[in-house]
């Protein structure tokens, strides 16, 4: 499967940012498709669209990171409820470690840039 929302990230987000987002949201509690869509948009993936989310959830189900079932409702049609599996929790930990590594790299880069800017500022004055 290709990355469904690859074109929807703003360009400033890590390439596979959606995966840890979804895993984290499901670690916080069971959820439904539309709710997840709203939350990932609020987490910075503004262009997230339902088709991509659906495929991502299906892929994660196949990888046994997520499980789901239909939840009948008294008030409306049945909805699919998604929960995180143990495998998903491990995936979340790995993804977050990877993001932490990226953060370290970015902090190093930004610190060096700040240091350079400060030196340039000092030599001008």
């Amino acid at each position: 499967m290709s990355t469904p929302l690859a074109n929807d990230t703003s360009g400033t987000l890590p390439r596979h940012y959606l995966k840890p987002c979804l895993l984290l949201l499901l670690a916080e509690g069971p959820s439904h498709g539309y709710e997840l869509l709203e939350h990932v948009r609020r987490m910075g993936i503004k262009g997230a669209e339902p088709g991509g989310l659906y495929r991502y959830l299906r892929a994660m189900e196949k990888e046994e990171m997520v499980s789901s079932w239909w939840e009948p409702s008294q008030a409306g049609p049945a909805r699919r409820t998604y929960v995180l599996t143990e495998q998903g929790r491990k995936g979340l930990n790995e993804s977050l470690q990877s993001l932490r590594d990226v953060r370290e790299i970015l902090v190093t880069l930004l610190d060096r840039y700040d240091s350079l800017s400060n030196k340039a500022g000092a030599s001008r004055s």
């Binding site: 439904h32 498709g33 049945a78």
Partner: protein
């Protein structure tokens, strides 16, 4: 998704039937719409922009055929390029999902923790099962089965 599609035509029909209906039910359940067209189905099933699948089968033609099969068996109704769940499919789907749900939450003796009163006898287990079917208590059972 296509790599996991079955190889025989009969199973492929069942596979795509299930995949298509699942998308339509999903959209309906999420309140995202009650009608779909071929392109939307292709997008959701991840076959967007691909003319043929891993087996060399023309997906556009086949998905269209599978949609028509669902129309023919009365699961979908067609209006031009758009398809919707038929009233019958809607009712059957709800019943099917409710049954699946019942199976998921149906408690059995010793299913609860050691503190639960259904541990004491079969009669208590039955009473426990009845109480668990009360809306609101379902969440606990579903969680336990998740």
């Amino acid at each position: 998704m296509t790599s996991s599609a079955p190889k025989s035509e009969q199973l492929r029909v069942l596979f795509w039937r299930s995949e298509i209906l699942r998308v339509v039910y999903w959209l309906h359940g999420e309140g995202l719409g009650d009608i779909v067209d071929l392109d939307l189905i292709r997008t959701y099933l991840g076959v967007e922009g691909r003319g043929v699948d891993d087996l060399g089968v023309d997906l556009r033609e086949n998905l269209s055929t599978y949609l028509e099969m669902l129309v023919a068996d009365g699961s979908l109704v067609r209006d031009g390029d758009w398809y919707a769940l038929s009233a019958r499919a809607m009712a059957e789907g709800e019943a099917e999902l409710a049954t699946a749900f019942t199976d998921l939450v149906r408690p059995v003796l010793n299913e609860c923790n050691d503190e639960c009163w259904c541990q004491t006898s079969a009669a208590e287990a039955e009473a426990c099962a009845r109480s668990r079917s009360v809306p609101g208590l379902d969440q606990k059972a579903r969680k336990a089965n998740a």
